[in-house]
Symmetry: C2
Subunit: 458 residues, 2 copies
C-alpha cells in the first residue's frame, strides 16, 4: 500500500465517526423548518475542509442556502480538479417507516443507516478525507483540488447556476469530478455517462371560494378533487407514457451506444419488480424496455397529491382546492421552460368550467446531460475502477438528474464526470437510507488512485 | 305573550350564555384527539337537562361516544314526543380560514360564530330551554318530552341504530321531532320532507412496497397517484353524474310532488354560484336542474385526497400509496351496502396491473328518508311556522342526510319530522360557521307554540 492508502486504512474509524457526525445534522433543504440544520451542515463542511488542510475556505452567498468552497493549490502548473457534492438531504418523512431515527446514524450489517448518508454525505466526504490523507501522509496532493459543496441539490438547485456565474473565477478548473451520483447496481461497477434533466412544479385546481357541505351542495358545486383527477389522468396514455402535445419537441432518437449498453446489461425486469415490491405493470415486458424507459424516455411523475380533509375518519366536505406536485424527467433536447408550457397548455385546454387552474414552478429545472464519450479522464476513471473491482465498469445512463454536468459546461466551460460510491439501491429518497461501509472504504482507495492517475495522465 | 314566551324573552341573555358555553367545548367526534371535548359536551348536555327539570337524565353507553337521555313525564295520558339532536361537531380545519377561533364563540352582526353553533348546538338547545320555560313559568309542560342527544352524527352515527335497539323501551314515544336539520333559505320558511342517504368509505391504491426515487424509478415503477387519478376520474361522466354500473339499482323516478315544489321555488342558479364563489359548471343550466341534482339525484363526492409528499416545496419521490375519502349521497331505494359493492367492483375491474386496491368503509351508512306527507304533526308545524313568519313554509327536500328519520321508523315504529332553526347557508361544515340570533329567538317562540299546538291536536 502507498502511504496514502495506509493512512486511510489506519484512520478509517475516525472517518466513520466524521460521517456519523455529519449525518446527525438534519440538513433538509426543501423545508424551512430545518433552516438550522442547513446552517450547521454548511459549518460542518467548512470546518472539515479547514481541518483537512484546505485553504480559502468560505461559505459562498448564493441567494439561498450557502455553498461551501475550499482549495488546495499544490502547484499552479499541476492540473486543477473541482470536486462537487451537496450537504443537503431529502426530507425524512414518512418517519414511522424508519427502523432507526433518520438523524441518528445506526451501523448494522456492514451498512450505515441515516438520511443523507448515501446521498450525498458519505460520497462527498471521501475526496475531502483523501486530500487530507495525501497532505498528512505524503506532504502534498499530486494535483490542485478545489471543492464546491452546495446546499440546495434536493430542492432542485435553484441558485446553483447563479453561484457558478458569480464565482466563476474562483472555481476555474480543468475538469469537474462529481462525488454525487450513484453506481447503478451493487454487483457491477458502472460509470454514468448520461442523466435525465428535471423540472418541478405544482398544479392547483380551485372550485368554490369556501369549503362546502358535500350533502347540501353535492351534485351542484364544483369538486376540485374530481376536476384535478380528470385533468391529471389525461397526462399519460394507456402505455404509461406522457401523452402531451409538444412534450417531445427538440428531442432526437436515443443514442445507439446507450441502447447497446442496455442490451449488454441483460437486465431482469422481474427481479426489478420483486426488489421494489410490486407486481409488474402491463405495459412493460422486458428488462430492455424497462431500462429504455428509465434512462432514455422522459417522465411526468406525481410526487404528492393533496386536497380536502386529511384527518382520520370522514368529513362531508367539498374542498375549495386540490393540488398535485409533479416532477418531469427530461431527455436531451427538452427545455424545462417549454415542458412546463406544454403541460400548462394541456391542462388549460381541458379545464372544465367552474374551476380555476394555477401552475406554480419550483425552481428553474435543468436539462438532461451526457458526457463526451472520448473524455480522457473518463477512461482513467474506468481503468481505476476496473483494476480495483476486477472487471471493467459498464457505461450507463441514469434516470435521475445530476444537473451540475450541464451547468459546469455552460458557466465554467469544463467537462464533468461522476465518481461516486453510492449505489442506486441505497434507498436515498426513501426511509432507511443506507451507505455500504465497504463502498465507503473502496471509495477512499479509488479516489486516492484516481487523483494520482489523473495527475500522471493530464 | 303567554307566560312561557315572557319567560323566554326575559331569559334570552342567559340562553345565549348557555349556547356560548356549549360552543366552547371542542366536541369533534371524528378525531380521537378531541375525546376530551366529547366527554365534556356529553356532561354539559346532561347537566343542562337536569337543571331544566328533566328526570332520569343519563349518558347512555352506545359502544362509541355516549348519547344523552332525559325526560319530563307530565302525565302518562298526554302525547309523548322524543326530541333528537347531536352534541358533536364537524372538524374545524382549515383553521387559518376562521376569522375568530372556532371554539371561542364570537357575536357579531346579529350572529354567533363558532364551530357547531348552527349544527347542532344552537338548534338542540332550543327545545331544552323551552321545556325549562314551561316548567318554570307555567308549572308544567303541556306534553311529555323525551330527549336523545347523540355524539356521533358528524361521524356517520355508527352506533345510533344499535342505541335505538338497546334502549327502545325507554325511548318509546308517539312522534320524533328532530332539532337537527336546516331551513332551506334565510328568506323563505321551509319544512324538510325528504333527505338523501349517505355512505362513506376510503379508497387506497398501493404500488411498490417502499417509497422510490422518482428519477431513478420514474417511467418504470407503478405510481399510485397516477393509478388512483385514472380510477376516480372514471367514476363520473362528462355531465358530472355518477357513471357506475348498478349505481341506480332499486331507485324509482323522482316524486312528482317534490319536482312541483322545485318548480314553485324558482331557484336562481346564477345566484347560487355567486354565493359559493365559483363560475357555473357547464352541465348545469337552470335552477330547476340544479335543485333536482341536489335533492333527487345521488352523488359520489371526493372529500379528501392524499398521497406522497405533503410538505412545502418538492420531493422527488414515487410514493407507495394514494387514497381518497368518498361520500355518496343516496336517493330512495339505494342501499348503502350495494352502493359500496358496485363502486368497489367498478374500481377493481379498472385497476391496472402493478397495483393493489383497498376499500375501507366508514360506518354502516344510511338510506334516504322521506316523511309521510299526510302526517298530522307536519301540518301543525307548518301552521306554526306560517303564523310566526307570515307565509306558509315551502315543502323541500334536502341534499344532506339526516339518517335518524329512517332509523326511528325502523326501531321505534314512529314517524319523525324536522323542526330546526338552523339555516342551510350558515357554513356548518366550513370555516366561520354561524347561527343567526334572530333565529335562535324565533326557534324558542316556535317550539313553545309547537308543543302547545301538538298537545291540542293529538
Amino acid at each position: 500500500m502507498s502511504g496514502v492508502e495506509t493512512y486511510l486504512d489506519e484512520h478509517f474509524g475516525a472517518a466513520l465517526e466524521d460521517l456519523k457526525a455529519f449525518c446527525r445534522i438534519p440538513s433538509v433543504s426543501t423545508d424551512p423548518a430545518h433552516a438550522d440544520g442547513i446552517t450547521k451542515a454548511a459549518a460542518f463542511v467548512a470546518e472539515r475542509l479547514a481541518r483537512a488542510g484546505f485553504t480559502n475556505v468560505e461559505q459562498l452567498a448564493t441567494g439561498g442556502h450557502p455553498a461551501v468552497f475550499g482549495e488546495i493549490i499544490t502547484d499552479p502548473k499541476l492540473p486543477t480538479f473541482l470536486v462537487y457534492g451537496h450537504y443537503d438531504v431529502q426530507p425524512p418523512d414518512p418517519f414511522d417507516k424508519w427502523k432507526t431515527p433518520p438523524f441518528e446514524p445506526d451501523e448494522r450489517d456492514g451498512r450505515l443507516y441515516a438520511r443523507g448518508v448515501s446521498d450525498d454525505k458519505g460520497p462527498l466526504l471521501i475526496p475531502i478525507l483523501v486530500a487530507e490523507a495525501y497532505v498528512r501522509a505524503e506532504g502534498r496532493l499530486p494535483v490542485n483540488l478545489k471543492v464546491l459543496i452546495e446546499g440546495e441539490e434536493e430542492s432542485g438547485s435553484p441558485h446553483f447556476e447563479g453561484t457558478l456565474q458569480t464565482y466563476r473565477d474562483r472555481l476555474g478548473c480543468d475538469l469537474v469530478i462529481s462525488a454525487d451520483g450513484a453506481m447503478w447496481r451493487p454487483d457491477r461497477p458502472s460509470m454514468t455517462v448520461a442523466s435525465r434533466g428535471l423540472v418541478a412544479f405544482e398544479v392547483t385546481v380551485t372550485g368554490a371560494s369556501k369549503d362546502l357541505h358535500s350533502g347540501r351542495h353535492g351534485g351542484s358545486a364544483p369538486n376540485p378533487i374530481s376536476a384535478l383527477s380528470k385533468l391529471i389522468a389525461s397526462l399519460h396514455g394507456e402505455d404509461g407514457r406522457v401523452a402531451i402535445e409538444g412534450y417531445l419537441d427538440g428531442t432526437s432518437p436515443p443514442d445507439a451506444r446507450i441502447i447497446a449498453a442496455i442490451e449488454a446489461a441483460d437486465f431482469d425486469a422481474n427481479a426489478y419488480y420483486r426488489e421494489i415490491g410490486s407486481p409488474k405493470p402491463d405495459p412493460i415486458e422486458t428488462g430492455r424496455e424497462l431500462l429504455i424507459r428509465q434512462w432514455l424516455e422522459p417522465t411526468l411523475e406525481f410526487n404528492g397529491i393533496s386536497g380536502g380533509y386529511q384527518g382520520k375518519g370522514t368529513k362531508t366536505v367539498i374542498p375549495t382546492t386540490a393540488s398535485v406536485k409533479i416532477t418531469c424527467r427530461l431527455i436531451v433536447g427538452q427545455k424545462p421552460d417549454h415542458v412546463v408550457d406544454v403541460v400548462t397548455r394541456h391542462l388549460e385546454a381541458r379545464l372544465p368550467a367552474g374551476f380555476a387552474l394555477d401552475v406554480h414552478r419550483h425552481g428553474p429545472g435543468s436539462e438532461a446531460f451526457f458526457i463526451d464519450p472520448d473524455l480522457p479522464a473518463l477512461k482513467v476513471a474506468e481503468e481505476v475502477l476496473g483494476e480495483l473491482l476486477g472487471q471493467p465498469p459498464l457505461r450507463v445512463a441514469m434516470g435521475a438528474t445530476i444537473p451540475i454536468g450541464a451547468s459546469f459546461r455552460k458557466h465554467l466551460g469544463t467537462e464533468a464526470f461522476f465518481f461516486s460510491f453510492s449505489t442506486s439501491d441505497e434507498d436515498y429518497h426513501a426511509p432507511n437510507e443506507f451507505f455500504r461501509l465497504a463502498n465507503f472504504r473502496l471509495g477512499l482507495t479509488a479516489w486516492a488512485k484516481l487523483l494520482r492517475r489523473l495527475a500522471e495522465a493530464m
